[in-house]
């Protein structure tokens, strides 16, 4: 890869790593699928480590401070597919890589990858799909990478098999297939009216669209919203989630913590750009926001009832994820910069911690004779440690101080004080967190306090090794860090949300070829372009 350094656009080329590192190792793993699991772990693990390094480097380098546009195949937008890297994309890549690391560690700790072929290949493909989706600036390409990450997720979700898992997997897949169909209907209609696929270009064309086309555009956009809402698992489209997350293996569930965020991210990218107040016709500006808030409220309420009703810890955690989706939808619906910044803080919190909570639930399940459901059992192994971990996670997830959940909720609520829908938002968020507290107190009580003395010498499942503990505890460290460093973090997030709301900049950056940007990114004329019959386009 000499070009990586010699090319005039070499800073841009680093962008390809988050996408092509995983896919390359996926291919490698396909070719190595007959080799020892150890070798596969080495490949997969080092890929994850490298990925983490790269995304961190990209983030700290401040590359995303302005929109970096990477033209695939050197075709300018809107004709070719472009990647757009900005702070938000960078954040998503980081989250993904972080989860991947945690999930990978726990996988190794529990040998989950041993229970069927191709775990690591699918794992890497999942990362490929996720990162591709986070980077793309083209709706159809977004569809393609949704499919990539979905198919990978089907494979991972079903990994290991079992009746309940297979059923959940079937439901998960069928619902998402319907979602993909809707996606194509929506994208197709948008192209059929606006004649383009690039998000920025769509936004621009929308600005010039004749009024008589508004109906179709709105219909298509709302269909697209439904599609993203399926992925985000918003009411009433979340029915696939509880079983899927509860039945799949712990590391996969942990990795899936990012999946719901993909849907929310897509809403932010596509609808946020299309219906931005600066560029969109006034008629469209409030097309989505109120829906988001009300659906978010409904989701939050239903999810909290689910948390109360859940019959085992994993299902409860799944519903907690749903609750966080609801909260995020509410916050996204407000669309102010403050709200956006709050959203992102809560976003990071819920992603990282729910991942960790799934792992913890799995540890508890392994430690108790009758798994993670509520029936009394002999005292659990590593009672004190697991108990305190549960306590901490419960605090964080229920939004009690002093952890991130609380900070996030304060940020969101204080962003909501001057919203028209303040009262319902306050009421829902506060009441649901109370119910979550009640529910989690009950679960903790049932899992750790209400023990019956060991009846017969039931052998306890061997808990995972030291790696497992690392995986379970690292999210807490992240949370603590987020509380301590709340000031710098939230100011960074403020800048990020400012960038997100600066849609005109986004459109300009995407639609004006790099040559127009600061000289750094100027492409040279291709040498072949001397009048020889041979030629590469530019």
């Amino acid at each position: 890869m000499i070009g990586l350094f010699t090319s005039p656009i070499w800073p841009l080329h680093w962008l390809t790593l988050p996408v092509f590192l995983p896919v390359f190792s996926a291919v490698l793993l396909i070719l190595l699928h007959r080799r020892s699991i150890r070798l596969q772990r080495i490949v997969s693990g080092s890929s994850v480590a490298l990925l983490l390094a790269v995304v961190v480097a990209l983030l700290v380098s401040g590359a995303g401070n302005q929109h970096l546009v990477y033209p695939m195949g050197d075709w300018p937008a809107p004709f070719g597919i472009v990647w757009v890297y900005d702070r938000l994309a960078g954040l998503m890549l980081l989250l993904t890589a972080g989860l991947a690391a945690i999930s990978f560690i726990y996988t190794v700790a529990t040998d989950e990858d041993h229970r069927g072929p191709h775990f690591h290949a699918l794992f890497q493909a999942q990362l490929f799909g996720l990162n591709g989706a986070f980077l793309t600036g083209d709706v159809f390409n977004l569809f393609v990478f949704f499919e990539v990450l979905l198919l990978a997720s089907y494979g991972l979700m079903l990994h290991g098999g079992g009746a309940r898992r297979s059923r959940a997997g079937l439901h998960y897949m069928v619902i998402n297939l319907i979602g993909s169909t809707l996606f194509l209907f929506a994208v197709g209609a948008l192209y059929g009216v606006l004649g383009t696929l690039n998000i920025a270009d769509l936004a621009q064309k929308l600005g010039q669209a004749p009024v008589q086309d508004y109906g179709i555009i709105a219909a298509a956009s709302l269909l697209l919203f439904v599609v993203f809402a399926i992925k985000a698992a918003a009411f009433p489209l979340y029915l696939w989630l509880p079983a899927t997350y509860a039945e799949t293996s712990a590391p996969v569930a942990a990795l899936f913590a990012i999946m719901t965020k993909v849907g929310l991210y897509a809403m932010l990218r596509v609808h946020g750009t299309l219906f931005d107040a600066h560029t969109a016709p006034a008629a469209f500006v409030n097309l989505i926001g109120p829906w988001q808030i009300w659906l978010g409220i409904l989701t939050l309420v239903m999810a909290t009832l689910g948390v109360l009703a859940a019959q085992n810890l994993r299902r409860q955690v799944a519903y907690l994820i749903l609750a966080s989706v609801g909260t995020l939808m509410i916050a996204l619906g407000m669309r102010t910069e403050a709200a956006l910044s709050a959203t992102l803080y809560y976003w990071i919190h819920t992603t990282v911690l729910s991942a960790g909570f799934f792992l913890l639930a799995d540890m508890i399940r392994r430690g108790r004779t009758n798994g993670d459901d509520w029936a009394p059992a002999p005292p659990i192994t590593r009672m004190v440690l697991l108990g305190s971990l549960f306590f901490v996670y419960a605090l964080a997830m229920a939004g009690l101080p002093p952890l991130t959940g609380f900070v996030g909720k304060i940020l969101i609520l204080s962003a909501a004080v001057d919203q028209p829908l303040r009262t319902p938002i306050f009421a829902t968020i506060l009441i649901t967190s109370l119910l979550a507290v009640i529910a989690l107190a009950r679960s903790g009580n049932r899992l750790f306090y209400r023990v019956d003395q060991p009846t017969t010498g039931v052998p306890l499942a061997a808990g995972p090794n030291r790696l497992g503990w690392i995986a379970v505890m690292s999210p807490i460290f992240v949370a603590v860090l987020m509380v301590i460093a709340a000031n710098p973090l939230s100011s960074w997030l403020d800048q990020t949300s400012a960038q997100i709301n600066a849609t005109p900049d986004y459109i300009h950056a995407v639609l004006n070829p790099p040559t127009m940007n600061a000289g750094v990114l100027a492409f040279p004329a291709h040498p072949e372009h001397a009048a020889t019959p041979t030629g590469a386009h530019q």
Binding site: A121, L151, G192, G215, L239, P533, T534
Partner: protein, 935 residues
């Protein structure tokens, strides 16, 4: 000032250390806790003596400045008073607990929990920023949860803890809401600002909601009616905990909040009504219930509730003097109630029971303890020369002051006197039923005084009661004045702490209270009987449990009815949502549904017939679907029709793709059908109708959307592709150039999907145990007809060549790697059809995984190569070469990419087909051959 932060942090820091120490030596825990508390106390003393306290001292650091969230502490009269109370009593409790805990109790857990709680309380007392106060507020709820549930093996301990957490937690969240709104109105969360903004707040429309939310916080914490019920249930905690949390500290947090925000919130009718009303009711109800409790701690709990009500009522009065009185009684109650709890603990500790019906005559067995109890109880009753008397006097006089506001001049004084009467009565009862009278025979005989150090804390507190009662002005006046100033945020009013104010109404009320109390005590039996047949029946806990139960039930019902785990309902919800969304979209603008259709394609009867056949076939598929195999045939008709439509409307590549996909899909389905039931079971009619309706609506929706778009004109970016395809993409077939060049990245994703599908299928089919399907009718006939075998010999090479041809021409004419891959795959499958697995695989074998991997590598490689050349990923290049006599040879890098596509498609489809072909053909334990066929 920085020491202030240290004071708060000390307990938090010591908590984990204590936990560790206890593991090493159980005796170390109380010492560590004690030292921590003591040093915090000393630090506080030093601070107070050094800092000028004429004005409140504040220290703050920015935490999340964007939303005015600071890390800020405040030192003023109230905070000093409250934190010293916390530390002093805390110290005594620690000493007491050191001897109270049984050997099997885990000291580490206990004392570190206690430290966490103490830290949280100090945080509340010393917070300048209200959000921060809420943080500590919630922390007290959490740590108290841990302390109350200390004896986790006891059901009532677990329940009590959870109830306390639920109720106080609710208050905390309400408080948070209130504080956030308050900050919104005032513009800051810092007390320095807020305390000055009383008028702004009272003027704001948000005043009432804010007041309600904050009071909800205060009342739940301070066990005010109707949230009082958690306190008695929290008595399941070890007695030191009760003594500390439920007499001196936690329950006072609510009062503290009232005091803290007194200047901003008080002074309105709403305040008088809510605070005063709640206080009065709690005062009376608590006192009344306490009369009839048989459990020592139960009696104390209700008396605590009553006294908290008294203090609340005082703040409710809203007058400066009332506030002073409130603070005064707060201190007094802390002293005598803590000591009484400890006494109860001692009795429990020595006799093993707290039931006053069984206890009695202990005065002889433990005179010292008895003496302490009598003094403390007297203070509680408000007997002169004891601190309780003074604050109660002030209370009575304030009641007389504000009586007019409560309607009649008589009502309020009457009620408070009644309350006084009852508190005297239960105080007497506490003493009498425990230390005098006759004990229950089966009570252990060898009862003696507790260890000395267990009494010392009580001694100290009782001495305080006496001392303050006798020399009030001297001992407490200054502090009280100082604190009152802080509470009122203004110079405190003049008040006298003399024992003797002359014959005035308050004195009369006190006398009536004492006399009436004795009378009530004498008449207690008939009263008890009356009570237990009446009000005694109803119990707030039952209500609370019922509430929680119904909540639980509701949650279950809602969740189960919505989340049934049934795919059909999931699908239905998804579709309904989509329909609604689309409908809203169309209806939300007054735009015409359809366009003018300027460039309508001419009508063409034959195509129309074809479309009609397709529709009929689709319906036939639905009609036949109960018989699976039959349904497959109309499906293929539809597929064929789609291909023909592509031909008809100028999409040759799509036609080719559709055809090849079609066949492979059919083969896949045939391979699967063997293992599925041949027929569907019938479904209930109503559901079929419902689904038909949804299906119909969806169909109409799809039609409208399609026609709405197609009847319009649109500007598109196609021109660019047509213009650049040849000149810069080097291909005549624009669709193919788009696939491998303009949008090659899409194609890369697409082949990854295919590869993943293959891997997934491979993984799913490993060791899959399926019942063997029913053999067909002709199971005796030839498995592989000769005629077919003979031809397939020829078919394979021919189809391979055909595939190659399609592959190579793709860039310039319909075709390409994808179609080629499928063609070759189907050629291989034909071999399997003609010859069976073994015969085929003995002759041809390729590593399908290898093909997939290699293909992806090729595709990726061309992309990376362009990066190597300094261009973005997948930048293509091409060239023409004149080769003598052979003619013009054209090659494009995109062709290599297409070759990659070819390999992936080939490998993936063959892998899937072969894996399924192997199903059931191998002994079930041994996994299917992973490598498929060919070339």
């Amino acid at each position: 000032m920085a020491t202030l932060i240290l004071i708060v942090l000390l307990p938090f820091l010591s908590a984990p250390i204590i936990a560790l120490l206890a593991g090493w030596d159980r005796r170390a825990a109380p010492w560590a806790a004690g030292i921590t508390t003591l040093s915090a106390l000393v630090l506080l003393g030093l601070l107070v003596s050094h800092v000028d306290l004429a004005t409140p001292q504040v220290i703050q650091f920015a935490w999340i400045p964007q939303i005015g969230l600071d890390f800020a502490f405040r030192l003023d009269g109230l905070s000093i008073l409250f934190s010293s109370l916390i530390l002093l009593i805390g110290l005594l409790i620690i000493v007491y607990a050191r001897y109270y805990l049984a050997p099997q109790d885990h000291p580490g857990r206990f004392f570190s929990g206690l430290m966490l709680f103490m830290g949280a309380m100090l945080g509340i007392a010393l917070s300048e920023n209200l959000i921060q106060l809420v943080v500590f507020w919630e922390l007290t709820s959490l740590s108290s949860f841990l302390l109350i549930s200390f004896w986790q093996h006891r059901k009532e301990a677990r329940q009590g803890a959870r109830m306390a957490l639920a109720v106080t937690g609710m208050g905390g969240l309400a408080l948070l809401g209130g504080v956030l709104l308050l900050g919104h109105v005032v513009g800051s969360y810092n007390l320095s600002v807020i305390l000055g903004a009383g008028d702004t707040l009272r003027a704001s429309p948000l005043y009432l909601p804010i007041l309600l939310l904050i009071l909800l916080g205060a009342f739940t914490k301070s066990a005010q009616f109707p949230f009082h019920f958690w306190l008695p249930n929290a008595m399941a905690a070890p007695t030191p905990v009760s003594a500390y949390l439920h007499s001196a500290t936690m329950v006072k947090a609510g009062i503290f909040l009232l005091a803290r925000l007194f200047p901003v919130l008080s002074g309105t009718d709403a305040w008088l009504l809510l605070v005063g009303g709640a206080g009065l009711i709690t005062f009376l109800l608590g006192a009344y219930t306490a009369l009839f409790k048989h459990d020592l701690k139960g009696l104390l709990a209700y008396s605590t509730i009553s006294h908290l009500g008294l203090i609340t009522l005082l703040f409710g009065f809203g007058t400066p003097l009332a506030a002073v009185a409130g603070i005064f009684h707060l201190i007094n109650h802390a002293t005598f109630k803590a000591s009484l709890f400890m006494v109860a603990g001692i009795i429990d500790h020595e006799t093993g029971t707290r039931d006053m019906r069984r206890l009695g005559g202990l005065a002889r067995k433990m005179p010292h303890t008895a003496a302490l109890a009598i003094v403390a109880a007297a203070a509680m009753a408000g007997v002169p020369l004891l601190n309780g008397f003074l604050s109660k006097e002030m209370f009575f006089s304030e009641a007389l002051e504000v009586a007019p506001d409560f309607g009649s001049v008589w009502l309020l004084p009457l009620l408070v006197t009644l309350g006084g009467v009852m508190s005297v009565a239960y105080s007497i009862r506490f003493v009498h039923d425990t230390f005098f009278g006759t004990p229950d025979p089966d009570l252990p005989q060898e009862i003696h005084e507790p260890p000395r150090m267990m009494r010392v804390p009580v001694d100290i507190l009782v001495v305080v009661c006496l001392a303050v009662g006798i020399f009030p002005a001297l001992l407490i006046g200054g502090l009280l004045n100082f604190a009152a100033g802080a509470v009122l945020n203004a110079p405190p009013p003049h008040f006298s702490l003399a024992l003797w104010h002359g014959f005035k109404l308050p004195l009369l009320m006190s006398t009536i209270a004492l006399g009436g109390g004795i009378l009530v005590f004498v008449l207690r039996r008939p009263l008890t009987r009356f009570h237990e047949h009446g009000i005694g029946r109803l119990n707030a806990k039952i209500l609370y449990d019922a509430l929680l139960q119904s909540l639980q039930l509701a949650a279950r019902v809602v969740t189960r009815t919505f989340d049934q785990g049934r795919l059909q309902s999931m699908t239905l919800w998804t579709l309904i949502t989509a329909l609604i969304a689309g409908g809203i979209g169309f209806l939300s603008y007054h735009a015409p549904l359809f366009g003018p259709e300027h460039h309508a394609p001419a009508f063409d009867g034959i195509t129309a017939v074809g479309m009609l056949i397709m529709m009929a076939a689709a319906l036939a598929a639905v009609w036949m679907h109960p018989k699976r195999l039959l349904a497959l045939l109309p499906m293929s008709v539809v597929g064929l029709g789609v291909a023909l439509l592509f031909v008809r409307y100028s999409a040759p590549d799509l036609a080719l793709t559709q055809l090849s996909v079609e066949v492979i899909t059919v083969v896949l389905m045939l391979l699967a059908l063997r293992y599925l039931p041949a027929q569907s079971t019938a479904e209930p009619r109503p559901r079929l109708y419902r689904d038909a309706l949804i299906a119909l609506l969806s169909g109409v929706g799809a039609t409208i959307l399609t026609y709405a778009v197609m009847s319009r004109d649109y500007e598109n970016i196609a021109g660019y592709f047509l213009a650049k395809s040849l000149t810069e993409g080097g291909g005549h077939n624009v669709v193919n150039v788009i696939l491998v060049d303009f949008r090659g990245y899409d194609t890369f994703g697409e082949i990854s999907v295919l590869a993943l599908a293959a891997l997934g299928v491979f993984a799913l089919l490993q060791n899959l145990r399926l019942p063997q399907g029913t053999p067909g009718p002709g199971s005796r006939s030839a498995a592989h007809p000769l005629l077919f075998q003979t031809l397939s010999q020829l078919l394979l090479p021919l189809t391979l060549v055909f595939g190659l041809y399609i592959l190579l021409r793709g860039h310039n004419a319909p075709g390409g790697g994808f179609i080629a891959g499928l063609i070759v795959a189907s050629a291989l499958i034909t071999q399997y059809l003609a010859h069976g697995i073994h015969h085929t695989e003995n002759r041809l074998l390729i590593p399908t995984h290898g093909a997939i991997g290699l293909g992806l590598l090729l595709a990726l490689g061309t992309g990376l190569a362009s990066i190597g050349a300094g261009y973005p990923f997948l930048t293509s290049t091409f060239g023409h070469w004149q080769i003598p006599f052979l003619g013009n040879l054209e090659l494009a890098s995109a062709m290599v990419f297409d070759l990659g596509v070819f390999l992936v498609v080939l490998g993936a489809s063959v892998l899937m087909l072969v894996q399924m072909a192997h199903l059931g053909s191998v002994p079930l334990d041994k996994p299917a051959k992973s490598e498929g066929v060919v070339s």
